[in-house]
């Protein structure tokens, strides 16, 4: 799985071919549109960085980008296509409502920020109704996210007493509890780890959480949006809430 970066929306095919070459594979299982509208910002830039050419989301622009991926999937009808499934990411219900009816091939999955203190329940129910799999990024609450995205009021999911208590009962790290919660919610979590990845994968096959434990974690929702996405703002936008149609 890989994604079309937000500066390549007008040339999806060459982005896809470059990924195939870099990954040394023959095709992409699922190609994502990472951000629902184009914007370029340099790696590692500060949250105050803005692209003067940035524009707000437009259903026409999105469906044009999406259409380019559909063409890479549809090649499969004649020979092996370059892409098997289409993914989307960082969407909202309003944006989905604006585009879903215009797509020929439905998206297979949508990647969203999902962790115990940021559960996006309405978005997940909407995706489920549409038969779109919810992939959860930052499933552990991203404790080592870039400094630019850390604010004093942010909540650290894995330090919450509910999670440490349940982890103690299961003799594991709270990270594993976050993953079990996600899996039992029907999300596909994608935890980042260079040190604990094996334990994380095992979370899918070890003892599940009880109904009471699930219910206790459900109460942790507090709108804790850890990464706001300010660099995607366009000239004239009010603030980052506008990115998320809030």
């Amino acid at each position: 799985m890989t994604k079309v970066w937000n500066d390549m929306h007008r040339d999806v095919q060459s982005s896809c071919l470059k990924s195939i070459q870099d990954l040394n594979c023959d095709y992409i299982d699922m190609l994502f549109i990472y951000w629902p509208f184009p914007n370029y910002h340099a790696p590692g830039c500060d949250v105050s960085s803005r692209n003067p050419d940035a524009k707000r989301f437009s259903a026409e622009e999105f469906t044009d980008t999406y259409r380019q991926i559909e063409e890479l999937v549809e090649e499969e009808l004649v020979e092996e296509g370059l892409v098997r499934h289409i993914g989307i990411s960082n969407m909202t219900i309003r944006k989905l409502d604006a585009v879903l009816g215009k797509l020929r091939i439905p998206p297979s999955a949508c990647e969203s920020k999902l962790h115990p203190t940021f559960q996006q329940k309405d978005l997940c129910s909407y995706l489920k109704e549409q038969n779109i799999l919810s992939i959860g990024y930052m499933p552990l609450g991203s404790p080592r996210r870039p400094e630019r995205d850390i604010l004093p009021e942010d909540v650290n999911d894995m330090q919450l007493p509910v999670l440490t208590r349940i982890a103690k009962a299961h003799l594991c790290h709270p990270a594993i509890i976050c993953l079990k919660w996600a899996l039992q919610k029907g999300h596909l979590p994608i935890p980042f780890s260079v040190h604990n990845y094996e334990a994380n994968l095992e979370a899918a096959v070890t003892e599940p959480l009880t109904e009471e434990e699930m219910a206790a974690i459900d109460t942790l929702e507090c709108g804790n949006r850890l990464v706001k996405g300010q660099v995607f703002l366009w000239p004239g936008a009010t603030d980052w809430h506008e990115l998320w149609d809030e």
């Binding site: 779109i132 870039p146 994968l201």
Partner: protein, 48 residues
């Protein structure tokens, strides 16, 4: 090492299946691409 057959999967709308858990690849500007690549290939070995 995990047996890949034991990892549950989800079904996508067209019937294809996908493992129920994946690995993140963005190192938050702290972990180098080489370290990430090593972990991801380790993850592939653990489940194959």
């Amino acid at each position: 090492m995990m047996d890949p057959k034991t990892v549950p999967s989800y079904q996508l709308y067209n019937g294809d299946r996908i493992p129920c858990i994946g690995m993140g690849t963005f190192g938050s500007d702290r972990v180098s691409p080489a370290e990430v690549a090593e972990a991801v290939s380790g993850g592939k070995i653990c489940s194959s």
